[in-house]
Symmetry: C2
Subunit: 177 residues, 2 copies
């Protein structure tokens, strides 16, 4: 029987296609490109490793786009290269452990959204000013508040990234629910 004749298989393929689509849409609101999110989704639900060629074909994207997207996902640590002996072509598999995936995403977003801001806040807070000026004190107090929050967020995210599965479930599920 051709797999495509099997209703269950067909609906599985459809479900996967829908998942790829959903991940693409969500990706957009998470600040990554649709293509990046879709390549990630496709690899996440592919039991087998896929080549650049496969990605181009299944998502109808260009070779250049596929190449750059794959490189970025490798940078993030969300996918791995799989080299097959005697074959020139590169294949890619996704990290399937979602806790690990979450860590990678947190790391990347922290870098993009928090780290640069913290550096600049520190510079701003270091600017001299007249402590007798109420207006200056108010500004400085606001800065300090923001810095504190940034610091707490940073530590929280760092801790989350280091979290072991057991720690994660222990602390989080028990303390926050």
């Amino acid at each position: 029987m051709n797999p495509n004749d099997n209703p269950a298989t067909t609906s599985l393929a459809e479900a996967k296609a829908q998942f790829v689509h959903l991940w693409g849409v969500s990706g957009t609101s998470w600040g990554v490109s649709k293509t990046l999110a879709q390549v990630h989704a496709l690899l996440l639900v592919s039991p087998a490793a896929l080549s650049t060629e496969d990605l181009m074909e299944q998502l109808t994207i260009s070779r250049g786009n596929a190449s750059m997207t794959v490189r970025e996902l490798l940078d993030w640590g969300l996918i791995y290269k799989e080299l097959r002996p005697g074959e020139r072509r590169e294949y890619f598999v996704a990290e399937k452990d979602m806790l690990q995936v979450t860590r990678c995403i947190i790391r990347a977003r922290k870098r993009r959204e928090l780290d640069q801001m913290k550096r600049t806040l520190d510079q701003l807070a270091a600017l001299p000013g007249d402590p007798a000026d109420a207006d200056y004190r108010a500004f400085h107090a606001a800065l300090t508040d923001i810095q504190q929050l940034a610091t707490v967020s940073d530590k929280l995210l760092t801790r989350l990234m280091q979290a072991e599965k057991s720690w994660f479930w222990d602390k989080f599920l028990k303390l926050f629910m």
Copy 2:
């Protein structure tokens, strides 16, 4: 003495301008428009309420842009209208409590980034499939993992939004550092 002759005041104005600029740049990487972030920053460091006219002038943006941005910030709960008796013009002040500001931002981002995704994941997970098919089981297991993470994130963020200042510091600083 003219305030602009005072070195401390001048450097304060510069620091504020730098802060508005920083917040604008950061806003971009946080997925909001530069203008939105800058208007918010400007109001955050303005002791007095500002009118639409003031915002247009200080940030050199158009009336339309100022109007739409202000409306969005009101939606987020990050700024408030201040109406002055006998005056037609509307003034705006920022919520200055940074914990409250954080809550508003978490709420908006959760809505944008998580809630829609959760709904669609639930739909996908509900699709029927053949439990005898290993490929189907793998897909379903991946979906379930993602759903679990989405659920935990949701609960964590919800808890964070409800956090009182004391709870926040108690739990977070003590447990996570």
